[in-house]
C-alpha cells in the first residue's frame, strides 16, 4: 500500500506550512517509520524532548491530519504519518472540490453518502456531482456500495478498504451475500462436529455423558483456519454465527460440559467448569412427515381428490 512508504510531497507540504522546527522534526521522525509507527515514548527518547511537549506536538500534528493514532493488538498506541498523496495536488482543485474532498476524507473507511455531502457542504447538487466526477476521474476517491443501503451512492478515498459495516464482513462478496459460501462453510462445520459427535462403527451408538471430545467454538475456528477451507479470514464471531445457524437449522445442539465429579456433587456448583461445546443431532430427516408424504399436505390447492393428478402419481409410484 502506498501509505507504507515515506512521502516526499507530504513532507513538502508540512515544510510549507507554519510548523515549528520541533514539530517538523517530530513529523519527519514519525514519517520515517511507516512500518510499525512510533509510540510517544520513542519520540520522547530519540528526539530528546519533554513528554509534555511531545504530547502537545503530537496532538497538533494529529489535529491537522498529518499523523494518525492506531491501537496495536497489545493495546499500545502508535502514531503513523498519514498518506497525503491524495491532497498532493490540492492546488489543482477548486474550492468546491476541496470542500467535498474534506468531507470524504473525514468520513474515513465508513464512506459518505452524496446526500450527506450535500447537507454538510451546502453546495448545489450539480456542483457536487461535478466535483465528485473530477475527483473520481483523478483516482482520488471511489464509489462503493453498502450492504445496508444498496441504493445509496457512497464515496470514500480510493486507497481505503471499506469497513465491515459497509462491506458486510466475510459473508459478502460484491456487496451481495455469498449464499453458496455460507452454505458450504456451514456444511464443513457441521461435518466436523458430526465426526466428533458419535462413535464410529455402530450407527446407533452414543457417547457417554462425560465424553470429552465434543468441539468448542474455538476448536472449530482452529479447524476451519488450519484446514484452509477458505481463503477468507474468519474470526471467532463469524464461526459463532455459523454455529447459531446450525442450531437454528436443528442440526446441532449446544451443551455445557460439566466435569464428572461436579455432576455427582451437585452441592458444589462450580460454574467455571462448564464449557460450551457443540454436538450434532442425529439426522432422521428420512422419516419425513405424515402430512407432507401425502400429496394434499405438500401441494394443497382446491381440486377433487378423485381427479387429483398428484394423488394418482403418488399412488402408482412404487
Amino acid at each position: 500500500m502506498s501509505s507504507q512508504r515515506p512521502n516526499k510531497t507530504s513532507q513538502k507540504l508540512v515544510e510549507k506550512s507554519n510548523f515549528t522546527p520541533m514539530e517538523l522534526k517530530v513529523y519527519q521522525f514519525i514519517n520515517n517509520n511507516q512500518i510499525s509507527g512510533e509510540s510517544a515514548e520513542t519520540v520522547v527518547g530519540s528526539l530528546n524532548i519533554k513528554m509534555k511537549d511531545a504530547v502537545e506536538i503530537i496532538n497538533k500534528l494529529s489535529r491537522s491530519g498529518l499523523i494518525e493514532m492506531r491501537v496495536q493488538p497489545d493495546n499500545t498506541i502508535t502514531y503513523y504519518a498519514t498518506n497525503v498523496r491524495d491532497i498532493q495536488d490540492e492546488t489543482d482543485f477548486d474550492n468546491d472540490e476541496k470542500l467535498v474532498l474534506y468531507h470524504i476524507k473525514t468520513a474515513g473507511n465508513e464512506g459518505i453518502w452524496t446526500k450527506h455531502i450535500k447537507t454538510n457542504t451546502g453546495l448545489h447538487q450539480s456542483v457536487i456531482t461535478r466535483s465528485l466526477k473530477n475527483l473520481e476521474s483523478k483516482g482520488i476517491i471511489k464509489a462503493i456500495k453498502s450492504i445496508k443501503h444498496p441504493t445509496r451512492k457512497i464515496y470514500m478515498l480510493s486507497h481505503l478498504t471499506p469497513s465491515e459495516d459497509i462491506s458486510g464482513g466475510p459473508w459478502f462478496s460484491d456487496q451481495k451475500l455469498d449464499v453458496d459460501f455460507v452454505e458450504s462453510l456451514t456444511e464443513a462445520v457441521y461435518r466436523f462436529i458430526l465426526s466428533r459427535s458419535f462413535p464410529k462403527g455402530n450407527p446407533d451408538a452414543v457417547y457417554c455423558t462425560f465424553h470429552p471430545s465434543y468441539p468448542t467454538a474455538t476448536q472449530i475456528h482452529r479447524f476451519i483456519t488450519e484446514s484452509k477451507i477458505s481463503d477468507v479470514e474468519l474470526e471467532l464471531a463469524n464461526i459463532n454465527s455459523l454455529l447459531d445457524l446450525l442450531i437454528f437449522d436443528g442440526k446441532v445442539e449446544r451443551k455445557i460440559t460439566v466435569s464428572d465429579a461436579a455432576l455427582y456433587d451437585l452441592m458444589e456448583e462450580d460454574e467455571s467448569s462448564g464449557e460450551i461445546v457443540y454436538k450434532a443431532i442425529r439426522d432422521h430427516k428420512s422419516r419425513g412427515n405424515a402430512l407432507t408424504d401425502v400429496p394434499c399436505g405438500k401441494y394443497g390447492g382446491v381440486v377433487s381428490p378423485s381427479s387429483c393428478v398428484y394423488f394418482r402419481k403418488w399412488l402408482l409410484d412404487y
Partner: protein, 535 residues
C-alpha cells in the same frame, strides 16, 4: 369445521354404510335436531331413522336431551364429532391392546367391545364361545380367564361402565343440574358470583362422579344394593355380567402418547434410550393418570434400574472413554438417565439433589409438536423455513432485516420465504407505527410465530387430507367395482382360475394402492392425536 364434518361423514360411511351416514350427515351439518327434523331432512322412514339413531347411540356417537318446550317434551339428538373422530384410532387402540401383557385375552375383549360400541361381560363370553365353539373341558377355565381379564381391564380403567344417563348429552346434564340448583337455592335472578359458584360445584361433582363410576368396588356395592340376584356374587368376582362397559379411549390415548414419546427418544438418542424411556413411562403410568397431566409423579432411580432388564443389553450402544473395566448395569442405566435429562427435549427431569426423576409430558409433547411442525415446513417450504421458524421462536418478534442477518440469507430470499409462510398462516405480522400516523414507511413490520396457531393450521390440514384419502379410496374402489365383484366371485367359488392374469395384475396394483392409503391414514391419525389430544 367443514373439513371435520366431511371427515366424520366418511368415517361413519366407512364403518356403518350409507344410510347411517345419511342420518349422521344431517346431524353433522345442522347440529342438534329433533326427531321430526331429522325425518324432514333425511326423508327416511321412521323405522330406519330409529334404527340408525340406536346404532349411533350404541357406538357412543349420538347423545340425546329431553327438553320441555311449551309443556311438550321434545327429544333432541346430537352427534359428538370427537367420538366419531376417535373411531379412526380404533386400529391403533387394538394394536396397543396387544401390548397389555399383564392382562390375558385383553385384545379379544377390547376387540369385542370396540366392535359393539359398548358391551357386557355376558356378551363377551357368549361371543367368544360362539366364535370358538369351545364347549370342551377347557370352557370353564377359559371363562374364568375371561372374567379375570375383564375385571382387570376395569380395574386398570381400560373399560368404563356406562349407564343410561351417559347417553344424555353432557351439556344438557349440566344445564339440568344448574336449573335444579337454582330452584333449590330459590334464586330467580342469580348474580354472576352465585352462578359461578353453582357451576364450579357442578364441575367438581362431575369430576368426582367420574372417579366413583370408574371404581370397580363402588360399582359392585351399587349392584348389591340395587339388585338382589347379585347378592350371590363372590367377593373376588365383582363384575356384574349385565353392566355395559365401553372402552376408555383416554387410557389408550395415554398409551399412544407414551409410545410416541419413547419413539421420540429413540429418534433423538438411540434405541436403547427408547427402551429405557418406555420403561420409565410404564412405571409412571397408573390407572388414574389423565392425559392432561403436565408431569408424572416422582420415580426413584432404583425403581427404574430394577425395571430395566439386564437382557436389554443397553450397554452395547454406549461408548465409555477412559473406563477400562466393564461398567455395571446400574452405572449404564444412570448414564442413560443422564442422557435423557441432558437432551434438549428434556425427556426426564431430575429433582434437585435427589435420585428421583419425573417425566414432563406437557413440555415433551410441545417439543414433539414443534418437531412435527418443523418437518412439515421443511418438506413444504424448504429447510430455510425451519431456520426462520426457529429464529422467530427463540428471538421473538423481528423485522425482515434482522431475520435475514440471523439466518445469513439474502434479504430478497428472506422476504419471499417469510411471505410464503405468512400466506400459509405460519408466521404473523405485527405493525408498530413509529409516529401517530400509520403510514407504511413510518411503521415497523415485525414478524413472529404463534406456535399454537401453527398447530391449528396443521390439524386442519390433517383433517382435510384424511377426508381426501377417504374420498380417493371410495373413488378407487368405485372404478374397480367390476374387478372387485369378479374377485369376490372367484373367492366364493374357491377357484382362482376365474381371474385372468390381467385381473390379477390389476388386483395387485389395487391392493398396493389401498395399502398406501391405509398407511398414510394411520400415520395421519397418529399425527392428529399428537396435535389435538396430547397437551
Amino acid at each position: 369445521m367443514g373439513d371435520i364434518a366431511r371427515l366424520c361423514r366418511f368415517i361413519i360411511r366407512d364403518d356403518f354404510g350409507d344410510i347411517v351416514a345419511k342420518v349422521a350427515k344431517v346431524l353433522l351439518e345442522k347440529g342438534r335436531l329433533s326427531f321430526l327434523s331429522i325425518r324432514r331432512f333425511t326423508k327416511l322412514d321412521v323405522k330406519s331413522i330409529k334404527e340408525n339413531l340406536v346404532i349411533l347411540m350404541q357406538h357412543n356417537m349420538v347423545y340425546y336431551a329431553e327438553i320441555t318446550e311449551n309443556n311438550r317434551t321434545i327429544v333432541y339428538y346430537h352427534l359428538d364429532m370427537r367420538e366419531v373422530l376417535a373411531r379412526q384410532r380404533i386400529g391403533l387402540y387394538l394394536w396397543h391392546s396387544k401390548n397389555l401383557h399383564n392382562v390375558e385375552l385383553a385384545p379379544a375383549i377390547i376387540y369385542y367391545i370396540l366392535l359393539n360400541g359398548k358391551g357386557t361381560l355376558k356378551g363377551v363370553l357368549s361371543h367368544y364361545f360362539y366364535e370358538k365353539d369351545a364347549e370342551g373341558p377347557d370352557s370353564t377355565k377359559n371363562k374364568t380367564i375371561i372374567k379375570r381379564s375383564f375385571e382387570k381391564l376395569i380395574r386398570e380403567h381400560y373399560l368404563l361402565p356406562v349407564f343410561r344417563e351417559d347417553t344424555i348429552s353432557a351439556l344438557d346434564k349440566r344445564n339440568e343440574q344448574e336449573q335444579k340448583a337454582l330452584i333449590e337455592r330459590q334464586l330467580i335472578l342469580p348474580t354472576k358470583k352465585e352462578m359461578s359458584d353453582i357451576r364450579s360445584k357442578i364441575d367438581s361433582d362431575i369430576r368426582n362422579a367420574d372417579k366413583a363410576a370408574q371404581s370397580l368396588k363402588r360399582k359392585a356395592d351399587d349392584n348389591l344394593e340395587s339388585s338382589d340376584s347379585n347378592k350371590m356374587l363372590k367377593t373376588d368376582e365383582t363384575v356384574d355380567e349385565n353392566t355395559y362397559y365401553r372402552v376408555n379411549y383416554e387410557r389408550f390415548n395415554i398409551r399412544s402418547r407414551n409410545a410416541q414419546i419413547a419413539a421420540f427418544a429413540g429418534e433423538r438418542i438411540n434405541e436403547s434410550a427408547k427402551c429405557v424411556m418406555r420403561r420409565i413411562l410404564e412405571i409412571a403410568d397408573d390407572p388414574n393418570s389423565k392425559i392432561e397431566a403436565a408431569e408424572s409423579g416422582q420415580l426413584s432411580k432404583t425403581t427404574i434400574t430394577k425395571k430395566i432388564p439386564q437382557s436389554a443389553r443397553i450397554g452395547d450402544y454406549i461408548v465409555f472413554d477412559g473406563i477400562s473395566r466393564n461398567p455395571s448395569h446400574e452405572y449404564i442405566v444412570d448414564q442413560y438417565l443422564q442422557l435423557l435429562t441432558e437432551d434438549e427435549a428434556k425427556f426426564i427431569r431430575r429433582k434437585d439433589s435427589t435420585a428421583s426423576y419425573s417425566v414432563r409430558y406437557k413440555e415433551l409433547c410441545q417439543k414433539m409438536k414443534q418437531r412435527k411442525l418443523e418437518t412439515f415446513l421443511q418438506e413444504k417450504y424448504g429447510s430455510e423455513s425451519v431456520r426462520i421458524l426457529r429464529i422467530l421462536t427463540t428471538k421473538g418478534k423481528l423485522d425482515e432485516k434482522n431475520i435475514a442477518s440471523f439466518a445469513l440469507m439474502g434479504q430478497p430470499e428472506t422476504r419471499k420465504l417469510v411471505d410464503q409462510l405468512f400466506v400459509g398462516g405460519f408466521v404473523e405480522l405485527q405493525e408498530v407505527p413509529k409516529v401517530a400516523e400509520r403510514t407504511p414507511s413510518r411503521t415497523f413490520y415485525l414478524w413472529y410465530v404463534d406456535l399454537n396457531k401453527c398447530y391449528q393450521r396443521m390439524i386442519s390440514d390433517v383433517y382435510r387430507t384424511l377426508g381426501n384419502i377417504h374420498e380417493r379410496r371410495l373413488y378407487e374402489t368405485a372404478v374397480r367395482n367390476g374387478l372387485i365383484e369378479k374377485k369376490e366371485r372367484a373367492e366364493e367359488m374357491r377357484n382362482p382360475d376365474l381371474l385372468s392374469d390381467a385381473d390379477k395384475d390389476a388386483l395387485y396394483v389395487f391392493n398396493g394402492l389401498l395399502n398406501k392409503l391405509d398407511l398414510a391414514e394411520l400415520r395421519l391419525v397418529e399425527l392428529e392425536m399428537l396435535m389435538s389430544d396430547f397437551v
